[in-house]
Symmetry: C2
Subunit: 479 residues, 2 copies
């Protein structure tokens, strides 16, 4: 065994293995053991891959083995998808082979009452110093390793959000979601029964992972609540931790209990605990991903002055309402800055805040307005809104905004919302691709920005240094 | 003048004119007067169209006139887009010509302080018994007349939602939105300065309009609040009235005042008033359209038993949470019905409510489950959830669900949510097209259903007959 493996933790090996054995690999495309091999190959994994099955039958052109013991080289990670009863023996062989981590895909353990069988896995893992994820999981995806060791979807949109999920179905569905909405993930982790590795372990890993900018967790109940909260407290100082905790209500808690056997606990207690630990609680999936998208693409807000730029009064009002309701600080612009904005709009525009450039705003007004907002140190975050008109082109305006931000170098948060039809959708794709997170309604942009402010306030309250800037920041985000 | 026009109100003529004069029609594609003619033609308007401009220059191949007085035939509607100062004289000519309604596109009236000029329009209209919409509007779209008399977008997705907006920019943007999200509108009405026609008039019209299933209004402030509330009270008994009222907060109200000069008033007062009048207040644009989509595609809920069908436990929990939080009644299924559902799922499924068919649910399980839910009179509404899996095809499952509903004939509310990637998006398009409203997350489906329940409860409380059904409804929606 190489020094590398000795110097890495079990979790590090699990996320970045040099070689993988798939035990239960199958040549039948309808089997999970086929899907796993296929997804690892399709995903572009660059390490060694060894299929293992009783017949030693080749899978997808790869030489197979009848047991992990037969594999000639070292193996870092085992992915186990055999019937539950065989898993303990397979795991023991893995331990003997010196494998450091295992994903146990198989179900049929604690979730159906087989507590003893699951306990045997834990004992075996302890004996050999192995870490195990699962059992009863759909697998693990980690973008930096190009490793899609799941029986979920073959394609995932890579990025900087780590998604950790207690629901398998949800995790697989979210792999599709990343492609549909172009929201990039660094990892998708299926937690399953959490026999060994719990959310806290995974969160600790991601808080140190430079490939991950924010962590998004779907949980129904915690195995060790205190450990999880401790990890959240530590991790939230380093990067945003977004939590989606369902089972909030009686109906939901009862459904959660049927689903994963989780005791949901009092929701108010969870809510207060998350807040104390700096974790950001989202109310639904879309909101959680909206937040994570912003936090992995843009720096946090610089100070307590958010500026709204719009070409439509109505959506400006909507954004202002949402800002006040969610704690995004909106103030009237200083007179000198108002004068500068007035030069970019017709007389019937509005230079206070929201700055209303009016429906006659073309590329240049937008580019110059964004530039003004970026260079003035009194502005700490910017919301750029565009309402589709018959005379202006959303795609060109998106480009002008992105060009402006790129040219200036962006050290404060910028979010955008383009309201309209297919051209606005195209414009928003371009903005997303250029790292300017975009949302189809102003309220979603504001919600993400508000969550970023909450995170920033938590960190400052805990004494973390505020974001540095080359300019003289007039004020900072108040803790 | 024909009997038809005499027997129709000014508003009826405005929405369904047999002939239109565009005063200020231009051959210059950059002018609003060109855009108006172009959109009316592109939209497929089948009546007569007369461009009017001082030169009498032909516009888009249409013979033009120097004044409405020169037009040989009758004219029902005038669309006026000339500089503000000329509008009173043009309007007088329209009155003399016997024109019954006018859209005054031109701006430069009350919104910039020209109160007297606007008052002259009102006097002229009264003198000739004309109704006027505006001034300061982008126009009027009405699907049944194939009339796009706006300078907004040329294409609008036709349907049964009437959209009434105080914000012009928002209205134009929403025309695009209808195409992007395939949410069909019967009308888009730009309210402008409301010199004559107010929201209440328009709402009264739509409440009697058989082409409209729900009305969605964006308002910043009412001119005559009492009239509007009275109209809402009457209209809500007939069809859902959804209100988006911004300027809720100090920041928003201040922005609204700069935008349309509206005095937003105390938001709590508005909120209570809307509720008393049965109007459904949405918190943002997406939510408002989500609700209207359901209400124009599906019948209202039949009774206080909502059933959730899912293939993923996690999204079932989310939906149950959202139901309880928003007042959608979820109860455990009766034993006999549970037994029937158990036959459609593996042993580790769940037959209570949510009914969890598990990730192994194919077309047949979904079709049969939906059938069970539709035919049992104890169920009053159905939420069908699907989480993308690697082994099932969302598009086929969507088809199976829609087939099942169509075969059975649907007299209760069905909403769907397909969570996943591009294939789920395709599946949802198919569902929408077949009248089964679909949403990308369970919470949005539940939010729409909850609003429908609120509307139904309001109507029942006011003594409206509950929805009739051929089956024996075990219970009804409680008022």
């Amino acid at each position: 065994m190489s020094d590398r493996v000795f110097s890495m933790s079990g979790l590090e090996v699990m996320f970045s293995p040099r070689s993988i054995a798939v035990v239960g690999a199958s040549k039948n495309p309808k089997k999970i053991g086929y899907e796993l091999v296929s997804n690892i190959l399709t995903g572009g994994y660059e390490g060694k891959l060894y299929p293992v099955n009783p017949e030693g039958a080749d899978v997808m052109g790869l030489k197979s083995y009848t047991s992990v013991r037969q594999i000639p080289g070292e193996v870092d990670l085992a992915v186990i998808a055999v019937p539950a009863a065989y898993v303990p023996d397979v795991l023991m062989e893995c331990g003997e082979k010196g494998i450091k981590a295992a994903l146990i895909i198989s179900s049929g353990f604690r979730e159906v009452g087989n507590l003893d069988l699951e306990e045997r896995l834990v004992q075996t893992a302890r004996k050999y110093g192995m870490r195990i994820l699962g059992p009863n999981i759909f697998g693990l995806y980690y973008a930096p390793s190009k490793m899609n060791a799941t029986f979920g979807l073959s394609r995932v949109f890579p990025g900087r959000i780590a998604f950790v999920t207690q629901s398998g179905a949800l995790g697989i569905a979210m792999m599709g979601w990343t492609n549909l909405y172009r929201i990039g993930v660094s990892a998708v982790v299926s937690m399953g029964n959490k026999a060994d590795i719990e959310e806290a372990d995974v969160l600790d890993f991601f808080s140190e992972d430079r490939n991950t900018g924010a962590v998004l967790m779907y949980i129904e109940g915690a195995k060790d609540g205190r450990r999880l909260l401790d990890s959240m407290r530590r991790s939230s100082l380093k990067k945003p931790v977004i939590v989606l905790k369902s089972g909030r209500t009686g109906a939901g808690a009862s459904a959660a209990s049927s689903h994963t056997g989780s005791l949901a606990g009092s929701d108010a207690v969870y809510d207060a605990a998350f807040r104390q630990c700096g974790a950001l609680r989202a109310s639904d999936l879309a909101q959680a991903f909206d937040w994570a998208k912003l936090m992995t693409l843009q720096p946090p807000p610089l100070n307590d002055n958010c500026l709204i730029i719009t070409n439509g009064g109505g959506v400006g009002v909507m954004a202002a309402d949402a800002c006040e309701e969610s704690g995004v600080p909106i103030r009237q612009l200083p007179e000198d800055l108002q004068l500068e904005f007035k030069r970019l709009m017709p007389v019937f525009g509005n230079s206070k805040n929201p700055v209303d450039l009016t429906g006659q705003a073309y590329e240049e007004s937008y580019a110059k307005s964004v530039e003004l907002a970026l260079k003035d140190p009194r502005i700490g975050s910017v919301i750029v809104l565009y309402c589709q008109t018959a005379i202006t082109d959303p795609v060109s305006i998106a480009k002008a905004i992105a060009d402006g931000c790129e040219a200036h170098g962006c050290e404060k948060t910028v979010v955008t919302s383009f309201i309209g039809g297919t051209q606005c959708n195209e414009a928003m794709q371009k903005l997303d691709e250029r790292g300017m997170p975009s949302y189809p309604i102003p309220e979603r942009a504001v919600s993400a920005l508000a969550a970023y402010y909450r995170w920033q306030r938590y960190r400052l309250k805990k004494g973390q240094p505020s974001p540095t800037t080359s300019s003289q920041a007039a004020s900072q985000v108040s803790p």
